[in-house]
Symmetry: C2
Subunit: 334 residues, 2 copies
């Protein structure tokens, strides 16, 4: 069964396609269509259940009311939660979100950008990775609104919303030091993005400022795409071979692997061993004892992302780019 087109409506109402189009788009008044015709057409549309074909619409107008969201991995709770918030807020403004995961693959990220491009999304919200600079720059050059979140690419000049990763790690480490910890480890990933680098910098600076010499043996960089089993092994090695009394995990999934290790080797978290994890996760609140975490302000990040992107969409002129850094919150649990 073919679906109805504007033409069918026009025929039924015995008016022109143009008239129907004006009515659908709320331009009836402005185009001086009579009240009687408006009512007639609206009634027919209502009764028939006609819905405009968005594809034809997009083809003609060049925009889609769709915003593309590119993230690392939708099954990571940080991203799925933020996706949900962004989706919610965009929805209220009449925009739909389509999202897809890059799995930290440059190729997949490029493909996604192309896919969104050829589908003419109106704007791009990207949690970027190194290696896609050129593609993103092209988007920007072509006049597409692009906003980064969570991570930034320093070479690209566009708006960015993210948490204050540097200070968050800095504070985490300071809190360890205040508890009297000396041998503080950092478990992080080897993906080369600003946000991760900053977390590492904050860690080092805090140690330094407190007169503790950073020890490279206490910094473990986990390869991004590896199996969890391998990760667990590496963390286990670290815990066994080094004298450690506190550890900061730079992402929630690393922390989860780390907690599994602690469970396996039966090491208890307590006075002589502390843990802080980046990015909150249900498991941390529930854990006994509770795991302290750096809570990113998801709601605020989503809010700002949407606000900026809508501002860009509604103003034809190019706006000045903004860098919004939101403080993260250190939640101490026990």
């Amino acid at each position: 069964m073919k679906s109805l087109s504007i033409k069918d409506i026009a025929v039924k109402a015995n008016v022109s396609i143009t008239t129907v189009s004006f009515i659908i788009n709320g331009k009836a008044k402005e185009k001086s269509i009579s009240e009687a015709v408006i009512e007639k057409v609206e009634k027919i549309i209502e009764e028939s259940g006609y819905k405009p074909n968005q594809i034809a619409r997009s083809l003609r107008t060049g925009n889609s009311n769709i915003i593309g969201l590119i993230i690392e991995d939708i099954s990571n709770s940080f991203f799925s939660r933020i996706a949900r918030l962004i989706e919610d807020k965009a929805y209220k403004k009449g925009y739909k979100i389509i999202y897809s995961s890059t799995e930290n693959s440059v190729d997949k990220a490029k493909e996604l950008i192309n896919m969104f491009k050829s589908r003419k999304v109106d704007a791009y919200i990207i949690s970027p990775i190194k290696g896609i600079e050129e593609d993103v720059q092209m988007l920007i050059n072509d006049g597409n609104p692009v906003i980064f979140f969570d991570r930034n690419l320093p070479d690209i000049n566009t708006s960015y919303v993210g948490a204050d990763h540097f200070n968050a790690s800095y504070q985490s480490v300071e809190s360890f030091i205040q508890q009297g910890k000396k041998n503080i480890a950092l478990v992080t990933t080897d993906i080369n993005v600003q946000q991760i680098t900053e977390r590492c910098e904050g860690y080092k600076k805090a140690l330094e400022d407190n007169g503790i010499k950073a020890n490279d043996d206490l910094i473990l960089k986990i390869h991004f795409n590896q199996d969890e089993a391998e990760t667990i092994n590496q963390i286990k090695e670290l815990f066994k071979n080094q004298k450690i009394d506190a550890v900061l995990f730079a992402t929630n999934y690393l922390a989860i692997s780390g907690l599994k290790v602690l469970k396996q080797i039966n090491k208890k978290i307590g006075d002589d061993f502390s843990v802080i994890a980046y990015d909150d996760h249900e498991a941390f609140e529930l854990h006994t004892p509770g795991i302290s975490t750096v809570q990113q302000p998801l709601e605020e990040i989503a809010e700002n992302v949407i606000r900026l992107i809508l501002k860009q969409l509604s103003s034809k002129a190019k706006l000045e780019h903004q860098q919004i850094i939101i403080p993260a919150k250190l939640i101490i649990r026990d």
Copy 2:
């Protein structure tokens, strides 16, 4: 900067639009275009970075290579994990997935269906809720491939893939009984979907078969859209007022709330109090002691969903609908 169109390529190559189109779509051989022309055009396409406008393509062909996925809530780890798997598998076959959450609102679900419809997605993967029967039936009548997963709507005749919820609860309860438990509670939701009903039925049947009379006071139905604080209160009431030695949670987020209650009231899980949760979650493995769970076979569900939907997409004829029920796995932890 306008993006390139097929016409630009045609002009550059000094051939017709038709020829370019044939080459792009791999029909050059079949339409007897000479090797020389093919090469020339391909070179120009390559150099210019031309990408066909998918919107124009969709308008003309009537399909989009996009599959719409409608779920309850992308921030629930069950859904985000399955979404990721489905996305992955579809991607490998050249399909993109666009997904959106209904938040268990009938209105939003209907709107999503409409949105997908007007964007001409090629197929629908839906985790349905009661109240959208008509809309779904219309999709099916219009010849769209539709497949349900996780939940089913008994009135609608279409393919379905899901776990064996009935047996999973049945076995969970039996395992409680084998441990000598007598007062077994069920915490579930009030959303009226088959999957939830089945979990409840399995619970009751297992009690009955073992000569235990089901006690309605031990069944707590939580209203779906309420605040977590409220949920926690209700569960707390249940635990305080009733004599309970085991509890089965029908969804992972209820179990998480339940565990929070246990932590608050300082009730330990152990020999005299057992817990089983539906849908695995990282928090359960990490919990001390580990929380036993009913693990749904995500991979297999995703696999089957994609397999069925692709089969329907590639065959013009209407296929027989299939109901695939996959056993769930009870993971006992401690």
